[in-house]
Symmetry: C2
Subunit: 230 residues, 2 copies
DNA sequence: GGATGTGAACGACTTCACAGCG
DNA sequence: CGCTGTGAAGTCGTTCACATCC
């Protein structure tokens, strides 16, 4: 391999080094969603404020880590009191970019797609599935949970009309790369990929891979490890 | 919060520091499954050996990182040649603890469970779903993909008979903690949890959380970030 | 007292640079 | 040469210790 050639994955750079301050880390962002989840729970319970210790306890993180993470959002905490729940929720949603609705297209209408359609968690966070695609002619034209299934050939048109910006790929592995390219070409900016393949796409398309077999393997490893230590 | 009290999550410790050598890192383990996936692909294509550069390229990692990770498995590489695919696959499967069959029970028979049942990726890696549970009396007794749906009350018996060691939770959030405890009490050692809650379980039960809304939020963040940089 | 915010120490992970082998 | 393996350096992330504020 030629020296000094960077063949590593383009990883979407985090924020511009910016002027000089707290520096948003990728690890923190990964926890923001989790904080948000629990804060929403606290809000439902009517708590007006929460301390870094309480939040950390609910999540299995230390109080210091919670404070370090939250520090990025600005000085939202009050010494001796804690953080006000509602402003913190707003700040997190703003930083994550989910203080608005995101429209989502789903390619591949199988059981997984059906499960996603009925999953309340998406809607609760502002995600709305607005378009379905499937290559199976028998499925095209059908309606699933009130949404019409479209043919891949109509993708560009349907995506444009629906305003979808994100895509979820639940097609078989073999078809995933092609479908991903089609979605990208149709103007989708981010893809959640359930197919166990590494997608190759232009740099302006973000991808999150959700490989369930890999997750299960990691679980097996943990159990295997625990067993071998006993 | 009292000083010096460790309220952080119990994270399953990695290997004992061991005698003196390569030290398996959590990050490496997270990539092992990915390596395995691609090696299996290379094997299907009939490649006898593969270099760290090739593997890295296929995965978006650097060649050095691949070598560092693989070094833990022992001296499997041949200088000037690369790694033999089959021995490497065996070593990875052995280290991950998946060089055998793992039996899995699924609690909550909805669309997601159905999708998992039909997902070929599990079987391909040696996972076999052997038991289904659902609290809905209307579903109990039914058969899904040839598997009977059992009542939660029969959990201990059915788990014991089936030999399941891992569990997948696809029940609604409210029910997740209770179901998790029941599965743990029935002898399950590891749980893959799809419900968006943090499960509290005895330390000997490993948990992997798969929160799809969080994943989608992370995707939205990436897209949001990319857009704000343009 | 009870909390936040943060430099500094520490540790984990990645990348560099290069020795060594086939 | 091409490619592996690995100390050393560098970067990123977490934890500690403590100043500070209500």
């Amino acid at each position: 391999m030629s020296r000094r050639r960077r063949n590593a994955a383009r990883e979407s750079k985090l924020p511009p080094p910016e002027d000089g301050e707290p520096r948003l880390s990728r690890a923190s962002v990964g926890r923001f969603s989790l904080y948000l989840r629990h804060l929403q729970q606290f809000a439902r319970e009517g708590l007006p404020t929460v301390s870094s210790g309480q939040l950390g306890l609910a999540l299995g993180k230390t109080d210091v880590q919670v404070r370090k993470d939250l520090a990025y959002l600005g000085h939202l905490g009050q010494a001796g009191v804690g953080y006000q729940v509602q402003p913190l929720i707003s700040a997190l949603r703003h930083t994550l970019g989910i203080d608005r609705e995101w429209k989502v297209a789903v390619a591949g209408v199988g059981n997984l797609a059906r499960a996603l359609l009925r999953y309340r968690g998406f809607g609760a966070q502002g995600f709305r599935i607005v378009a379905l695609f499937d290559a199976d002619a028998a499925k095209v034209g059908q309606s699933v949970d009130g949404l019409a299934v479209h043919a891949p050939a109509d993708m560009t048109q349907v995506i444009a009309d629906s305003g979808a910006e994100l895509g979820i790929i639940t097609v078989p592995s073999e078809a995933a790369q092609g479908v991903a390219e089609a979605l990208a070409a149709a103007g989708i900016h981010g893809l959640m990929n359930f197919a166990p393949v590494v997608l190759r796409l232009p740099a302006h398309v973000s991808v999150i891979n959700v490989d369930l077999a890999i997750q299960l393997e990691q679980l097996a490893f943990l159990v295997h490890l625990a067993a071998s230590e006993r």
